[in-house]
C-alpha cells in the first residue's frame, strides 16, 4: 500500500493524471448502501474514469473497522487520496456535494 502511495505522490503534481483512492463503507444490502454504490460508481465513471480505485467495505462483515475508521454514519465514502482526506456520508445522491468532496469542483 505504501509503495502505491509513493508512486501516487510522485504523480500528484500532474492534475490530469491524479489517481483517486476511495473507500466506501456500507451496511450490507440496505437501501442507502445500494444507492450509494450505484451513485458513486456513476459519478466516478463520468468524472474520473479510469483514474480511481474504489474499495467497498461491508461494515457488517468487518465490525472492528468501525472503531478503527471512526465510523458513525453510513454509508461513508473516504477519499484517501489525493490529500487532504475527505469524508462524505450519505447515499451520494447529491452529486454536486460529492464532486466538491472529491475536490473536482470548488
Amino acid at each position: 500500500m505504501n509503495e502505491l502511495y509513493n508512486i501516487l505522490a510522485e504523480e500528484e503534481n500532474d492534475d490530469a493524471n491524479r489517481h483517486y483512492v476511495l473507500r466506501l463503507f456500507i451496511t450490507g444490502a440496505s437501501l442507502n448502501s445500494r444507492r450509494a454504490v450505484v451513485n458513486i460508481r456513476e459519478i466516478c465513471d463520468v468524472h474520473i474514469k479510469g483514474k480511481y480505485t474504489l474499495e467497498i467495505v461491508d461494515v457488517y462483515q468487518q465490525k472492528a473497522v468501525a472503531e478503527k475508521e471512526q465510523i458513525i454514519a453510513l454509508p461513508l465514502l473516504i477519499k484517501c487520496f489525493p490529500l487532504p482526506e475527505r469524508r462524505m456520508i450519505g447515499d451520494m445522491s447529491d452529486t454536486q456535494k460529492v464532486l466538491k468532496g472529491l475536490g473536482l469542483i470548488n
Binding site: A66, I71, A73, P75, L77, G90, D91, S93, D94
Partner: protein, 569 residues
C-alpha cells in the same frame, strides 16, 4: 382469598435495578439505576456528569461483575484515563482485563460532507461490537449530543437516536446517556424525550462565591425514589451523595448521662451531665470561655476512652491544644492515642452542604461518640441563618441517629439584636448553656447558667464560672444584699462577712464574760444572804433553847418546892 392476593402482590416482579456503587445514590434511588434501560444524566458543564458515569462503569466492572463500554464523544481515551486516575481508577488495566472498553468517537462537521440519506448504523455496529466482545452489561454515551454539532440532518439524527435507545433496551444493557443542560429544558437537544425511564439532574451552584453540587432524581419510572435535591461531594474517593434530608424523627434515645468535664457543671445538670446522643449549645459573647467548655468536654470524653471529633472553624488545632494546655488539659496525649481528632477548616472553604457532607464523612470514618463544632457562628458567613439552621437540623438528626452527642458553640453579640444564631438553633438543642459576662465594679466576670436541659431537673441559678490553671470551675452563687456578686466584689463581700463573723465571735465572748461576772456577783449575794439567814436561824434557835431550859429549870424548881413543902407538913 386475601392471602392469595398478597402472595400475588409480593410475587409481582419489581423493577430490576443496577447498583451504581456510588455512595448514597443507591439509597435514594432505592437500589440503583433501572437495569437494562437508559438513564439520562444531565447537567451544566463541570457538574460531574462524566465522572458520575465513569464511576458507574468502574464500580460495575469491579464490584458487580458487569463489564462496560464507555463511548466518549468529547474526551479522548487517554484524557479520560488520566482524568480518573486521580480517583484511583486504572482504566488502562481495566481495559487490558477486558472489563471496560473506552471508545472515543470523533465527529467533526468540517471534515464531513453530507451527500444524501444516511443512518447511524456505523455507531450501532461499533457499539454492538464493543458490547459483544466484552459481554458488557453497562454502556455510557458521553455526550451523545455532540453528534448534533457534527451532523446537520436533525430529522435523521432524531430518528436514529430513538432507534438507538430502543436498540440498547433490546440489548438489555444499562445505559447512561449524558446531556448538557439547555435553556429552559433539561438538555440542549431534548434528549429527555427519548430517555423516559430515569432522569438525574446534576447541578453546580455558586452562591456567595461558594459552590455546592446538587443531585436530583427528576424522574424514575416504576420506582419510588427520593425527590429532594441532594448535595454531593467529589473528592479523592469519587462521588458521594448523602441522603441527609430523608430523615425522620425516629431515632433511639439514650438515658445514659455523660460528664461535661466540669464537676460543678455536672451538678447543675441533675448531678450527672448531658444525655448521650443529645445536642448541646454553648452560647455566649466573645471571650467567655466557650471553647474552654468545649475543650473540657472533649478532654473528659477522651479520658473516658471514647472518641471525640473536634471540628474547628476559628482556631487551628495547635492553637486549641496550646490554649487548653494553659488551663491544665493535655489534649495532645488524646490525639496521640487516636481518641481525639481535629478537623480545622475555614467555613468559606466550601458551601454549607459540602460542609455537612464532609462532617458526615468524617463521622462515618472516625466513629466518634462526641462531635464538637466550634463555633457554628462562622458558618453564617457561607449561608443564611435559615440555611445554617437547616444544616444543623440535619446534622443533629444524623448524629442522634448514631447516638453521637454533639456540642455547638455559638457567639452572641452583647449589644446587638443578633442573638440570631441562638434563637434559631436553641429550639433544636436539648441542652443550652449560656455563658455571659457580668460587668460590675470595673471588672468583667463570667457567669454561666443552664437555659434549658430537656428531660432533667437542672439548676436555675447563675453560677460564676472561673477559668484557672487547674481547669474550669463553677463557684457557688453568692448572694449579697445587692444581688448576685461575682469576681472581686464576691470576694470582698466574703471577706466582709468573715470580718463580721470575727467581730460577732468577739462580741459573743464579751457578753458571755459579763454574764459570768453577773452570775458571780449574784452568787456572792446569795451566799451572804444565806449566811445572814443562818445567823438569824441561830439566834432564833438560841432563844428557843433558852426558853426550854428556863422552862425545865422552873419545872424542877417547882417540883423541889412542892416536895419540900410536903416534907414540912
Amino acid at each position: 382469598m386475601s392471602s392469595e392476593t398478597q402472595t400475588q402482590k409480593s410475587a409481582l416482579p419489581s423493577l430490576p435495578k443496577a447498583r451504581t456503587g456510588i455512595v448514597g445514590l443507591d439509597e435514594i434511588s432505592e437500589g440503583g439505576l433501572p437495569k437494562g434501560r437508559p438513564t439520562l444524566i444531565c447537567g451544566a458543564a463541570g457538574s460531574g456528569k462524566t465522572l458520575f458515569s465513569m464511576e458507574f462503569l468502574v464500580h460495575g466492572a469491579l464490584k458487580f461483575n458487569e463489564p462496560g463500554v464507555f463511548m466518549a464523544f468529547e474526551e479522548k481515551a487517554e484524557e479520560l484515563t488520566m482524568n480518573v486516575a486521580s480517583l484511583g481508577f486504572d482504566l488502562q488495566q481495566l481495559q487490558q482485563d477486558k472489563l471496560i472498553k473506552l471508545d472515543h468517537v470523533h465527529v467533526e462537521r468540517s471534515e464531513i460532507e453530507e451527500t444524501g440519506e444516511y443512518d447511524l448504523e456505523g455507531l450501532f455496529i461499533r457499539l454492538g461490537y464493543a458490547i459483544d466482545t466484552l459481554g458488557a452489561k453497562r454502556v455510557v454515551l458521553d455526550t451523545i449530543e455532540s453528534l448534533f454539532s457534527g451532523l446537520t440532518n436533525m430529522a435523521i439524527l432524531r430518528a436514529e437516536l430513538r432507534r438507538l435507545f430502543d436498540w440498547l433496551k433490546e440489548k438489555g444493557v444499562t445505559t447512561i446517556i449524558t446531556g448538557e443542560k439547555g435553556e429552559g429544558s433539561l438538555t440542549r437537544q431534548g434528549l429527555e424525550e427519548y430517555v423516559s425511564d430515569c432522569v438525574i439532574l446534576l447541578d453546580h451552584r455558586v452562591v456567595n462565591k461558594i459552590s455546592t453540587r446538587i443531585l436530583r432524581i427528576v424522574k424514575y419510572r416504576g420506582s419510588v425514589h427520593g425527590t429532594n435535591e441532594y448535595p454531593f461531594l467529589i473528592d479523592e474517593e469519587g462521588i458521594s451523595v448523602l441522603p441527609v434530608t430523608s430523615l425522620t424523627l425516629k431515632h433511639q434515645v439514650s438515658s445514659q448521662l455523660i460528664s461535661t468535664g466540669i464537676p460543678s457543671l455536672d451538678s447543675m445538670l441533675d448531678g450527672k451531665g448531658f444525655y448521650r446522643g443529645g445536642s448541646i449549645l454553648v452560647s455566649g459573647s466573645a471571650g467567655t470561655g466557650k471553647t474552654s467548655i468545649a475543650g473540657s468536654f472533649a478532654h473528659s470524653t477522651c479520658q473516658n476512652g471514647e472518641r471525640c471529633l473536634y471540628l474547628a472553624f476559628e482556631e487551628s488545632p495547635g492553637q486549641i491544644i496550646r490554649n487548653m494546655n494553659s488551663i491544665g488539659m493535655d489534649l495532645q496525649t488524646h490525639i496521640d492515642k487516636g481518641l481525639l481528632r481535629f478537623q480545622a477548616s475555614r467555613p468559606t472553604l466550601h458551601g454549607l452542604e459540602m460542609h455537612l457532607l464532609s462532617f458526615i464523612k468524617q463521622v462515618d470514618d472516625f466513629k466518634p461518640s462526641v462531635v464538637i463544632l466550634d463555633p457554628i457562628t462562622n458558618l453564617v458567613t457561607v449561608g443564611s441563618v435559615s440555611e445554617v439552621k437547616n444544616l444543623l437540623i440535619r446534622l443533629i438528626d444524623f448524629l442522634q441517629n448514631s447516638q453521637i452527642t454533639v456540642m455547638f458553640t455559638a457567639l452572641t453579640l452583647m449589644n446587638s439584636p443578633s442573638e440570631q444564631t441562638d434563637e434559631n438553633v436553641s429550639s433544636l438543642v436539648d441542652t443550652w448553656l449560656m455563658v455571659r459576662d457580668i460587668e460590675t465594679n470595673g471588672e468583667r466576670n463570667r457567669g454561666m447558667y443552664v437555659m434549658k436541659s430537656r428531660g432533667m431537673k437542672h439548676s436555675n441559678q447563675i453560677r460564676e464560672f472561673v477559668i484557672s490553671e487547674e481547669g474550669l470551675r463553677l463557684v457557688d452563687v453568692f448572694l449579697g444584699p445587692s444581688g448576685v456578686l461575682t469576681g472581686s466584689s464576691r470576694e470582698a463581700q466574703q471577706l466582709l462577712e468573715r470580718t463580721g463573723e470575727v467581730l460577732w465571735d468577739h462580741a459573743l465572748s464579751r457578753k458571755d464574760r459579763e454574764i459570768e461576772r453577773k452570775k458571780m456577783v449574784l452568787e456572792a449575794k446569795i451566799s451572804s444572804l444565806k449566811e445572814e439567814f443562818e445567823s438569824m436561824q441561830d439566834e432564833l434557835n438560841r432563844a428557843y433553847i433558852e426558853e426550854e431550859l428556863r422552862k425545865e429549870v422552873q419545872e424542877k424548881n417547882r417540883e423541889e418546892m412542892t416536895r419540900k413543902r410536903d416534907s414540912s407538913k
